[in-house]
Symmetry: C3
Subunit: 283 residues, 3 copies
């Protein structure tokens, strides 16, 4: 199994070309398109989608390409994880969360000058020329050590996703992902919910939104309130009325904001890097 | 063969995750993506696309998920059809038209609490947790009776698509689907065309559009005319000039409105639930 | 291997239906979706994407459908190329560039009335009724001669993509394709760059844009300058600052205009058929 996650989109044939390269090198590989619709050059979104999906993928070779630094000195890497998977992609943090969800880094190699790459390597399409061929050869049985030169795990670029803070009964949670239904995933989990003292379906939650340049800028996050709204913390959409704003734990166990049969992103104007302020309703 | 039809889109990885779940349970399954682009939560559009496509699919397990009631008390079902196919999806009418195009309902089970489901089941992503695993196990040879508890065919939710009416030489036809080319499919077939006394390529047809809340509201459908235009009833696009408005029988044998090398939906502002009034041109 | 390239999009199930038809006729076929996102009815864009991608595809049966003349007298064809591939599609020039990139035309047959087609053939969906079945039977071992009636290679519709001109140190290059990142591919290659006397990363290039009805109208291309900008000719994105306008050789070895971490199409308002005027910067 070879899985692909990219920001190539499906219109231009880039994803199809990667399929062709892999099928040519390893005809027996089964290719699963995790998605090619990561927002262009959004490494964090790619890392989150990959980490959330990986445990539902059969163990195999997992290619991810969201690569604003293509053609630069950024490394191309192949990495074995603790649970026996192999990951292939740019060393820009994209693989980081998934690697840590899969038992951590066991072995890593730099494949920028891999003997397995296509020649000549273009300056702008490493998915085709470096990542897809490496993945196909790994799937065909080539050992990781033969794909490139060894790297120390500590040399890899780390990715630290923005995380929520709870203080004085107020949760400041960054928007990390907006899906196609307009459901807004926050950088928070059940832990923060418990810290607020909420119980599913029992609490009303007052929701006020602050747009801050970054979560670190906590003071501004408090002061710049663009929209405020009231939501209910529930277990699922069906606990809400049509069009009601809700907060819930989504299918990736992350805290999320949604509108039942509507789009929370549209109603509240939320996008990644916005910060949502959540506090318990007084009554 | 396992086919998938959903409204998940392809950007967020939901469809890819379903592929992963199926491939993990039943590695030998061949998965065909019928489409993941059904308009969000549009059960009727999903039902029509599935019913129109099913006879071109090899017999297998056919998953469909357009599921605004996910997490509610609505049933999740698996159904065997008269021609030996198995269908899996929510019991909200989505499977209804396809089941009847495939020989009707032979056996049905409720799989909401199926022993084949993933644990824990999320409240919002039953495609991953209930439907994909059930389909994969069925494809791997598990009998329908082992997938859930038996249901009477009469308990299933039916779906009655809006249909056209002909009276006094006037056809009132609901828009049921608009495709990506802007071709507008109506809830009418060759029968209604014959009732109007039209012959392909021989008749000029006057087309007047009425936007009505529902087709039942026939009086308003007559009176509220937003746009009127003249079209020609033809066999195919090539019988029309570039940019000409035409009425024809489409590849699903439904009456449709199109603009040759253009978009009828855009030109006429048509969308599903609109009603189109068609009558024969006097001269 | 059967590859598919169409302008069907992925929303309406048209591509999925073609998969189903092929899998039904030739279950052992591996289907690769090169893309279904060619701009609607844009034969030139489809021809360019197919020709650029084909050498990365395993040899097989290559279906392409961008077919504004569906239902007309235009031929449906199947063609064997010099390198042993088979191509299937409408005879409107769509296959032309790929055929010539693959060793030219060795054998051609007209398949409009092929014994392999589905019956009845719809007037508007030949992908399903003619092209997919023909491809599947070819993939299953049916010889080309059994798929239709012989055609002389000289009878096929040729496609001549617009090409650049260099004169007096000025390059006039047509926009031939805009990808999803907003990178703008021109109808020019390294030859024209050398004719201008440019070296990668060493030259500053002044870029002036003219919007002309066609490249043949060279006089107007000179005179109508809508936007002018300065760009640098580089090897790759990383040689440029963020947001800098660059000219480079893209992964298909074509000259292209891009904005590092941005969209050149958006910034310059470029679209296919526009003509870009490029000359060396005086200093």
């Amino acid at each position: 199994v070879v899985t692909l996650l990219t920001d190539y989109g499906l219109d231009d044939g880039f994803a199809g070309v990667c399929h062709g390269v892999i099928a040519g090198i390893c005809p027996q590989a089964r290719i699963i398109d995790l998605t090619h619709g990561i927002p262009r050059q959004d490494v964090l979104a790619g890392a989150l989608v990959l980490a959330g999906a990986i445990r539902y993928m059969p163990a195999g070779v997992h290619v991810a390409v969201v690569d604003p630094g293509v053609g630069s000195a950024r490394r191309a890497i192949a990495v074995a994880s603790g649970d026996g998977r192999r990951f292939v992609g740019p060393d820009n943090g994209l693989l980081w969360l998934a690697l840590h969800a899969c038992g951590g880094i066991v072995e890593a190699v730099e494949i920028s000058a891999s003997p397995l790459r296509l020649a000549p390597v273009s300056a702008t399409f490493h998915g085709r020329d470096i990542f897809a061929p490496a993945a196909a050869h790994l799937a065909a049985g080539v050992p990781l050590s033969a794909a490139g030169s060894p790297l120390d795990a500590g040399e890899l670029v780390a990715l630290e996703p923005p995380r929520a803070r709870v203080a004085d009964g107020i949760l400041l949670a960054p928007v990390v992902y907006v899906d196609g239904f307009g459901n807004v995933q926050l950088g928070a989990t059940n832990d923060e919910i418990e810290a607020l003292g909420l119980e599913p379906g029992r609490s009303r939650v007052e929701l006020a939104l602050s747009v801050a340049a970054a979560l670190d800028d906590a003071a501004r996050a408090h002061s710049v309130t663009a929209v405020s709204a009231t939501a209910r913390y529930v277990r699922t959409f069906d606990d809400a009325r049509a069009d009601e704003l809700i907060v819930y734990l989504d299918s990736a166990a992350a805290l999320a904001v949604a509108v039942n049969r509507g789009s929370a992103a549209y109603r509240l104007g939320l996008k990644p890097t916005d910060v949502v302020r959540i506090s318990k309703h007084p009554c």
